[in-house]
């Protein structure tokens, strides 16, 4: 534009907040930062509650002492560091990874229904895990040993990734259309679920029962050998997803506009979807196909922060808090501890119905 700098209007915009320092300028959203801080506090609180009440109730000072290595009460020390802490970390990994994956897929597909559980990734991971259970299991104790420690998580991870790749390739036709992505995802999802059901009929009773618990989504018996490597993987993937978040807003303007603004939309979408598939697979390996976490958390985070598209970091925090609270509730709600997936279903199902009704109304 040809007007001189002097008579350029210098209005600041309330809706575009910027921090500038020399050549560096960073956009930020005050409400997003505030909500993020609150979620962080909630996360720490939920972690504490989960440690203290994720079984027989323990006093908070005892939990704290045990966490810092005080082994005077060997029983409490063992319970906290070897049973409850890995389970608590598993809940955080599962919640944050599934929710971040959902935030990415919902934004890329421009559809709040397009979460990894709809796109077939978590169902694929279940299929992998159940296949190992049925093939290698048997005997009164069900699956145990190397097959359980390494085989099941690996199979779940590989099958989750494979389903994601299959959905992408089948939906690809010179580009990715979001409706086709969702429809193909639903197809692969149905396919994986049917295969899993068929496998269940082949297994013996113990294996089938073990498989069903896994498929419900459970954090029972998660220990450090599984959780520790997943923690590293999750941290890397979450960082990558959050770093790519700013490009997601451009993608949400539609393909043509994004390309017009100089985005290599195909590459951005492929990268972000790959990260989402890996995140969903990690989450499923840790906790099974926990339903509704990936679907609901990103939208809750979006509403809380007032953002235009689900923010990745706030979604991850929301998901982690959601799963921690759900698992604490599952451990205490009834006389018998429930798998955490029961609680996420009970909370999530009404939300899904609401979402479909609202979405339909907007379309018609």
């Amino acid at each position: 534009m040809s007007t001189s700098v002097a008579d350029r209007p210098q209005a600041a915009f309330r809706s575009v907040r910027v921090l500038r320092l020399g050549p560096v300028s960073v956009r930020f959203r005050p409400r997003g930062l505030a909500v993020g801080a609150v979620l962080l506090v909630l996360l720490v609180a939920a972690m504490a509650v989960h440690l203290a009440h994720g079984g027989t109730a323990l006093a908070y000072p005892d939990v704290l002492r045990a966490m810092f290595g005080d082994a005077t009460d060997a029983k409490i020390h063992l319970a906290v560091t070897e049973f409850r802490a890995p389970r608590m970390v598993a809940a955080v990994i599962a919640g944050s990874c599934l929710a971040a994956a959902g935030a990415v897929t919902q934004t890329v597909a421009r559809n709040p229904l397009a979460s990894p559980d709809v796109l077939g990734v978590t169902a694929g991971a279940s299929l992998g895990a159940v296949a190992v259970l049925i093939a290698a299991g048997g005997g009164a104790a069900g699956l145990s040993g190397a097959a359980a420690v390494v085989g099941m998580p690996l199979a779940a991870f590989a099958a989750g990734v494979a389903s994601g790749v299959a959905v992408y390739l089948l939906a690809y036709r010179g580009g990715i259309d979001s409706y086709r992505l969702v429809l193909v995802g639903l197809g692969i999802n149905g396919f994986a679920v049917s295969l899993t059901t068929w496998l269940l009929t082949l297994g013996d009773v113990t294996s089938a029962a073990q498989a069903l618990t896994w498929m419900m989504g459970s954090l029972n018996g998660k220990d450090w050998p599984l959780v520790a490597p997943m923690l590293g993987l999750a941290a890397g993937l979450l960082t990558a997803a959050a770093a790519g978040g700013s490009r997601l807003l451009l993608a949400s303007l539609g393909d043509d506009t994004a390309v017009g603004l100089g985005t290599r939309i195909g590459a951005v979408r492929l990268t972000m979807l790959s990260i989402a598939v890996l995140l969903a697979s990690v989450g499923t390996v840790v906790a099974g196909p926990l339903v509704f976490v990936a679907l609901a958390s990103p939208q809750i985070a979006r509403i809380l922060t007032g953002a235009v598209v689900p923010p990745v970091a706030a979604s991850a925090l929301t998901g982690a808090v959601f799963v921690l609270l759900a698992d604490t509730a599952a451990a205490n709600a009834l006389a018998l501890p429930l798998p955490v997936g029961v609680v996420t279903s009970v909370v999530g199902a009404p939300y899904l119905i609401y979402l479909i009704l609202r979405y339909q109304r907007r379309l018609t």
Partner: protein, 269 residues
């Protein structure tokens, strides 16, 4: 009809474009006149929007090429192209909650770096783009709360913030009432007159296209049938040939531009 215009910055050479195995445009050659407003007209399905998508590298050529300053678009980075050429797709949609200023600020994306997300200069350009489209007062309003004409101005404002010399608009007046159509077209012509921008727009209304463009391209079945000044292109013979429309063409009273009076489309009812 008239001698070929001087080679422009943006050219299509033997361009073939299509979707799903079907060619929509084949072997089309066009030079977009610099610093002029060009309107592309033609019946539904003639390939005018496809041509615009091809010129804006939204649709890769099957064969032939589109060049910008002599370089094929395929050889330029899409980010570099975005600094020279901006595209407004047909009926673009913004996610709900996005404000006008936020939308327009995205026009700066091709010139930004990861540590330079919105510099003082970016802010000045955005404010200017908003002023040029008379949207400064609505800057912090959500796009979805605007009227149709305001919303279209917001999108045009985003393409202005790109500071690209060439502006491609795909049916910028769709779904607008007549007053808003005129508002958008006057804005577009003003951008050309005041800022020297080259504009290519696809329009449905032939009379409005003739009124607000310097150069017209008439298309039929994926080919260019005629191009030239509005007076050269908009004739009864051409309307019959391109649209199958029997029409009279009269000079409109303000500038004497051709105005179409339809007589009949040959349908016996």
């Amino acid at each position: 009809m008239t001698e070929l215009p001087l080679p422009g910055r943006l050219r299509a050479e033997s361009l073939t474009l299509g979707y799903d195995g079907r060619d929509i445009i084949s072997g089309l050659t066009l030079s977009v006149p610099d610093a002029k407003v060009t309107a592309v007209i033609g019946p539904n399905g003639c390939g005018k929007s496809t041509l615009l998508r091809g010129l804006g590298r939204l649709l890769p050529p099957r064969s032939g090429r589109v060049t910008l300053d002599g370089e094929p678009l395929a050889k330029l980075s899409t980010r570099h192209i975005a600094t020279q050429l901006s595209v407004l797709p047909q009926t673009p949609s913004a996610p709900s909650g996005l404000t006008v200023a936020d939308l327009v600020s995205r026009g700066r994306h091709p010139r930004q770096k990861w540590y330079q997300q919105f510099s003082g200069a970016d802010q000045a350009v955005v404010a200017e783009a908003l002023a040029a489209t008379d949207l400064l007062d609505l800057a912090d309003h959500p796009v979805e709360e605007l009227s149709g004409g305001q919303r279209q101005r917001a999108w045009i404002s985003m393409t202005l913030a790109q500071e690209a010399g060439i502006l491609l608009l795909d049916e910028p007046t769709t779904y607008l009432d007549l007053a808003h159509q005129v508002e958008v077209l006057e804005l577009v012509r003003g951008l050309n007159r005041r800022h020297g921008r080259t504009v290519v727009m696809v329009l449905h209304d032939i009379s409005l296209a003739a009124r607000y463009s310097d150069h017209m391209v008439a298309m039929k079945a994926g080919r260019i049938v005629a191009q030239g000044t509005p007076a050269e292109v908009v004739t009864p013979d051409l309307l019959q040939e391109v649209f199958g429309l029997a029409a009279q063409v009269v000079p409109e009273p303000t500038e004497g531009r051709p105005h179409v009076i339809p007589l009949g489309a040959g349908l016996r009812v």
